[in-house]
Amino acid sequence: MKSWGEGGADRLSALIILGFSLAYGYAGKFIQVGFYNGDIGPHHWIYMVASVMVLLGFGLVLRPTQHEFETEVWEDWRKRLPLVGVIIIYSVFLPYTGFLGAMIAMMIVVAKLFGANWKQAILCSVILSLLCLLLFDHLLGISLGRGLWLK
């Protein structure tokens, strides 16, 4: 991510917040108020929060701090994106593979991202996942997702 100059990073953040606030306030329009017809309804709070955020967003655009984003290193995102991906994959595959399969796969990737070699990653993932399963599923009786074949 390139530098946006002095205060530029704050202006960018403020614009994102402004966009979010406007969308948030607009979404409040679609609340089904139903029979309620009083002075302060469920939608008014949404409008209030959105309005204040719009004002604050404008405030940040006009008076940004000296803050600049530190330069984002692409190398770091090459580590972060696999983490993001592996958590998405975990949540998608959990109902099919069950906890153990999905967790071991996820943990191997995370351990590798944090500098483990293959042997360390596999050992760490298998041991920690088994301990977790033993603790939650067997000792505490909390289901962690059993997968298709155990349903």
Binding site: V33, V49, H67, V84, I88, I142
Partner: protein
Amino acid sequence: MLPGIGPVNAIAVLFPIVYTLEVPAATVMILFAGIYYGSQYGNSISSILLNVPGTSAAAVTTIDGYAMAKQGLGGKALAMSAIASFIGGTISIFFLALFAPKLAELAINFGPAEYTVLMVFAFIALSSFSQGSLLKAIISAFLGLAIAAIGIDSTTGVSRLTFGMMELYDGIDFIVVVIGFFAVSEILIMLGQKESDQSKMQPLTSLWITFKEMTGSLATSLRSCVSGFLIGVLPGAGGTIASFIAYATEKKLLRPNQFGSGDIRGVAAPESANNSASVGSFIPLLILGVPGSETTAVMLGGLISFGIKPGPLLLETSPDVFWGLAASMFIGNLFLIILNLPLVGLFAKILQTPRWILMPLITMLCVVGAYTINGSEFDVLLILIFGLIGYFLRRADFPLAPLILGVVLGDLIETNFRRAMIYSGGDVIIFFESNICLTLWILAAVSLLAPTLINSIQKKIHS
């Protein structure tokens, strides 16, 4: 103790487990309180031996603690840290038991308008004491309010901003928000950081403290305990400010001193103050429902999740929570000193745990924690989304404590605001009518000005 893994992350990761196990609320609070004040001491280990403070509250300890460790006196510094923590923690428990019921009597006359203003005061206090820009802190608080409004409206039963998704009808669980914004964003940040340089770690030496050193630091510990407690009671202030002020006061009071180059009293002052402040912060948390830090904001959310409403009536409705907590703090402090002195070598070794073991373990606990709340994969995706938002907010210097407060107090502030408006027929003057409201507005104004004063004190320390 482990740099980056503060008490808030520990609580965030543990919360879903105790929530699913349906542990009694008093027990959960005792567990979280133990993590909170235990971490105040734990942080001193990495501060003294590694020159890396686990949290900002331990930053002052590094000044003299690490200087002592470099002179081969790391053991003494750790022992003094444990003793001062014990003194600060134990004496402040008596203050807690003494002052909390008095404040509860005072706060019993609160109506919806007073509660609304109290929560506004909480937002202002926490935002103004947050590091960085006040404007960003307030934006952060409103983002929290925006998240809290998702789901069924508790007054009318109307669903809001759910976009037809069944998973959002019950609102977004605050645990999911906490895990995402704190723990997952921390993992994302750590992925871009190099492992801390363990070669900087100073060897652990004898823990033996002489009688002269002990008596010489006693007055420092006692004074810092009192100032730490008073600062801890102020919503938003907390351990960081307490430790800075205690250090500055002692540096000025004690002449001659070697503060800055390895004075044992320079370890005693911040350690006693931050432990005392952590106990003091339970007064506004339990009696007014106003948290003073991000950790106590998470604890407040925990209490509400367990159906306990912190406030002036807590002492009557849930005395087990309040008095159980006070008693457990005393026992906890006793164990802190009994266990920490002989086990400090082991704790120092834990600091050397490689990140490829620690971070997968934390990732696993986050994912498992999110899943176990509702048994839903949707919550796992939510922690990821909040983690990414949290990462960018942290990079852009937005403090997260006001956001968590917004999520925790969102429903309460909205309900009380709407009730007050109904009582007054839509007239906002209700928020300025009573003496309690006016006092709270004045306190809010004072807390807006206080950071400027505290900043000048901090600048004096550094100069």
